[in-house]
């Protein structure tokens, strides 16, 4: 176990390409939720890149560049972990926000090369939010330890999405 931790620490510390390198197989997670709230109101919340307070996992959102393409934010989890993210494209008409993680410790989120889109479709009464992403597992070589496997990566992201979308629904439906 100690050996493994040392090996992991070395990997993270010294691999010059840790943020870019990846295992051979990209994973995908798609989560959806129906919310009884107007589509514009939902978009107002999820389309604001600089405020992730609707998600229970995050304590703080700090950033720059607003909602422009290329804008940045740093999310701090309630455990103190940091996730650095950047807008790839924000489409106000399609109500879709695409962004990527530019830097994260695999101990915070066990993924690499993460890119995501959160979007909403619907009417003045009802909306469907979709949160989807593509990423590689945290371990960039063959034979990953279980906590950095494909399954661990999918499980972690699925957990983030499900808890977040559940909280979003509660917030928007409760605040009518």
């Amino acid at each position: 176990m100690v050996k493994r931790l040392i090996a992991l620490a070395l990997l993270v510390a010294f691999a010059p390409s840790a943020a870019n390198a990846h295992g051979p197989s990209r994973q995908k997670v798609v989560s959806k939720i129906e919310i009884n709230a107007p589509v514009d109101k939902v978009w107002e919340v999820i389309g604001n890149f600089q405020d992730m307070s609707w998600h229970p996992a995050f304590a703080k959102t700090e950033g720059e560049g607003g909602n422009e393409d290329g804008a940045k934010r740093t999310l701090t989890t309630k455990d103190g972990g940091k996730i650095f993210e950047k807008i790839i494209k924000r489409d106000n008409e399609a109500r879709a926000l695409s962004y990527e993680i530019t830097e994260v410790d695999v101990k915070v989120v066990p993924v690499t090369n993460y890119a995501s889109t959160i979007s909403v479709v619907g009417t003045a009464e009802k909306s469907i939010v979709e949160w989807r992403s593509a990423f590689y597992r945290g371990f960039v070589n063959n034979d990953p330890p279980p906590e950095l496997s494909d399954e661990a990566a999918v499980k972690a992201i699925t957990g983030v999405y499900e808890s977040g979308l559940g909280a979003l629904k509660a917030k928007l439906e409760g605040g009518k």
Partner: protein
């Protein structure tokens, strides 16, 4: 004899329900414009673990084959009778009989075989190993590894010149390409590229190589004779691979949901074509009519009309199509079995 056109041509003398003129018209319509076009696309779906063979005339799946080990890369033999698919997690190259639509053999290769190409002259199969930082050569008759050579770090894409003499690997984590003498199987030069070159494509004349640089969002154009970079062209976000058609380069922008196009003479941008999510493997037919794109997130193969620069056909395929390599197979004009 799998294309509907060929079957029609074989069957038509007995097709008595049509008038002669009608039959001729049909023949012209069916055979005429597409003789030189690609006939089948071999789409490799990594997440689903499937190879789908798409009839590109109808954009319908003609056959599917299950492949274990998270298949990703693809190449066809020069005679089109075989497909070779890399399975990085299976640590193998899977040999497919393209006519029988069946697995012929599975060859153990390295620790992370990904990029694959075939020498168009002698049929040798070249496989880049992402983890071992090596290029393997496989004998197409014995279907066994015959040699290997060290490349830069994490070679991903691999391509060969049309004369079969020079191999180029895109060494992703060394930000370079390696130029390898195909006969001696040694590295004769390296050329610096943009950051994280992934796919590499060589032009028909064998004069230039184009790498898609994932991290710097550009394409490096390499002069293979001078062994140096000619130009760096900005494209969309996270480019994956390049296809060449009619003096234009078509580049899949994974995170951009676009194919970026630029002129290979002037290097000027031509435009961006909207495609499905996470476009990855891309291939041009020989006739310069269509470009085919594997869209990983959309689970689709899309067909771009080179004339109109728009998607004019799509087909849903199993989950996670990557099709990393030259995945088009001609079914027309093949030599009879037994000829070299």
């Amino acid at each position: 004899m799998h294309s509907s056109r060929t079957e029609f041509a074989t069957a038509w003398p007995c097709a008595g329900q049509f008038s002669f003129v009608r039959r001729c018209t049909l023949l012209i319509v069916l055979l005429g414009p597409s003789l030189a076009a690609a006939d089948e696309a071999f789409v490799v779906s990594q997440n689903a673990g499937r190879l789908s063979i798409v009839d590109v005339a109808t954009m319908k799946i003609a056959a599917e084959i299950a492949i274990d080990g998270k298949p990703a890369g693809i190449a066809l033999s020069p005679d089109g009778r075989r497909a070779y698919v890399t399975a990085p997690e299976g640590r193998a190259v899977v040999v497919i009989d393209a006519e029988k639509r069946a697995i012929e053999k599975t060859i153990d290769v390295g620790k992370g075989p990904l990029g694959i190409t075939v020498n168009p002259i002698d049929g040798r199969i070249f496989v880049a190993d992402w983890y071992e930082h090596k290029l393997y050569a496989i004998d197409p008759v014995r279907l066994e590894i015959m040699a290997s050579v060290e490349t830069g770090l994490s070679p991903s894409g691999v391509a060969v010149t049309g004369d079969g003499r020079l191999i180029v690997t895109a060494d992703r984590d060394s930000n370079q390409v390696s130029l390898i003498d195909a006969k001696l199987f040694n590295v004769i030069a390296t050329v610096a590229t943009g950051e994280r070159p992934f796919g590499v494509t060589i032009d028909a004349a064998g004069e230039r190589a184009y790498t898609a640089n994932v991290a710097s969002d550009d394409v490096t154009i390499i002069d293979l004779n001078a062994r140096k970079a000619l130009a760096t062209i900005k494209v969309g976000h996270r480019p994956y691979a390049v296809a060449l058609s009619r003096q234009r380069a078509f580049v899949t922008d994974q995170h951009g949901e676009t194919v970026s196009v630029f002129d290979t003479n002037s290097f000027d941008p031509v435009g961006k074509i909207a495609v499905g999510g996470f476009p990855e493997g891309i291939a041009a037919d020989e006739a310069g009519r269509f470009i085919y794109v594997s869209c990983w997130d959309a689970d689709r193969l899309e067909r771009i009309d080179v004339e109109t620069m728009k998607v004019n056909g799509t087909v849903d395929v199993p989950a996670g199509p990557r099709s990393f390599g030259a995945f088009l197979r001609k079914t027309s004009g093949l030599p009879p079995r037994g000829e070299p």
